[in-house]
Symmetry: C2
Subunit: 272 residues, 2 copies
């Protein structure tokens, strides 16, 4: 998907909501477990209930992998469903991959070709030649981990290299890579105060922002410091939406929570 199409969808829906599909058999309503593919049935119901309010879906690949081959089948069905019925919606493989060139090339093929995602999250630790194979795909997007939302972000990402933090070096260095226009970045909502400085380094890139909801980040703060003229944000909520209820009414509860977040986003967009 071209970035312009994503921006158009955000404007049309007055939403920059991404719904995280961290679908866990142990947490979905128990009546679904009788179905042939409970994970897909859950995802389908969540997507049907929330797609009016969301511009992106983000399957968290770990949750599918953990189910083995059955999990990958559920993922494939979910992606086919999304790409067939909602081609205007942006899809993110939250996979945190990254390896030497010939291996990253395979991961890029997995998510961009085999599963037809629009984007994939990538870890920067192995540097330029571990990321560039992802950047080669036209109209596909590589979402680089920069400053994450978890406590461990303090272990390495915020360590100071002379006058800068490691994550700032990641942002600056990544701009020099080939096809860097295909980069987006993960910046945790719990790090909202860093967003103003981050926007100095990468004014135009889209940011995928997890951590609103279960992890405690503030949507208003994220927008205040992180929004740019193209909006430039995809704010993710996973557990807060998909497990809003774990009973028969789960889809209705997810819809209400997505609508609530979209409404908050609409107010912010209208106030600009």
């Amino acid at each position: 998907m071209k970035t312009a199409a994503l921006i158009a969808e955000i404007r049309k829906k007055n939403s920059f909501l991404c719904v995280g599909l961290d679908t866990d058999k142990a947490k979905i309503p128990s009546f679904l477990l009788e179905k042939e593919d409970p994970i897909f049935e859950f995802n389908k119901a969540i997507i049907e209930a929330t797609h009016k309010y969301a511009v992106a879906y983000k399957p968290n690949i770990a949750f599918y992998e953990a189910e083995g081959i059955e999990g990958w089948k559920s993922l494939e069905k979910t992606m086919n469903y999304l790409n067939t019925h909602f081609p205007e919606i942006f899809t993110i493989a939250d996979a945190k991959r990254g390896d030497i060139g010939n291996t990253s090339d395979r991961y890029a093929k997995t998510f961009f070709d085999t599963f037809a995602f629009d984007s994939v999250t990538v870890a920067p630790y192995m540097g330029k030649d571990s990321v560039e194979p992802f950047l080669e795909y036209q109209d596909k997007h590589t979402i680089l981990l920069a400053l994450t939302s978890n406590p461990g972000a303090e272990d390495f990402q915020t360590k100071r290299v002379e006058e800068k933090s490691v994550f700032q070096i990641v942002l600056e260095t990544s701009k020099t890579w080939k096809n860097s226009e295909n980069l987006m970045y993960v910046i945790g909502a719990t790090q909202a105060s860093a967003l103003a400085d981050i926007r100095q380094i990468i004014p135009n890139a889209f940011l995928l922002v997890p951590g609103v909801g279960a992890q405690g980040g503030s949507l208003a703060e994220v927008c205040k410091y992180g929004m740019n003229r193209d909006i430039g944000l995809l704010v993710n909520s996973s557990r807060g939406i998909i497990y809003a209820s774990q009973k028969e009414d789960f889809a209705k509860a997810a819809e209400e929570e997505a609508a609530r977040l979209q409404n908050e986003m609409k107010s912010i967009l209208n106030g600009l």
Copy 2:
């Protein structure tokens, strides 16, 4: 597998060779493509031919993922074959995973439970809470990326944080994590000169060393600076062994290359 069992196998075989199963349909002998599962048939033949000379096998997960569900089936069969016929052999999921705690927990389940690997490679960028879920598994091993063999290692890993490199901070910090006795580390063979300093920080941990062969690292240098009293090394060769020939004689050629490397290792061990 307990570390003691790995050390015993190394002593018994006079080998610390790990064979990387970067199995790519585009590179395996074409006559195998007629089989029902070419990737598994290739792996099985390689394992049969090389297991006398190797103590570990390392499927590179990217190559299986890129084939979609069929690829995961090939991986499952490969792991069943290894665990059934060669339970004394150490298995490594080269997956480079790592995410927030509840997600790393799922990746650990994938590789330790679902696919029954002895170990998995993990990227450190997201810090402590992204790695500790892997460390909780008893007699399973987490192989943390420290200083990798690729050019991109210079982008962030060797950046200086005050008097130290980022990778040294990774090594030191990781020692403070819960169950850190389950840690091993990836140190590229192309970085042999750094091994003496690295052994000051982590004298006892096993190192998984890629980069001998196709990437140009030297086995003698790696042993000189990296070996400890338990040997403490797993030296990986992937393409150099599995693609030694791409014709009908591929298994024989792989056996010869594995035997050559094992013989070099034996000479080094006998010279100690």
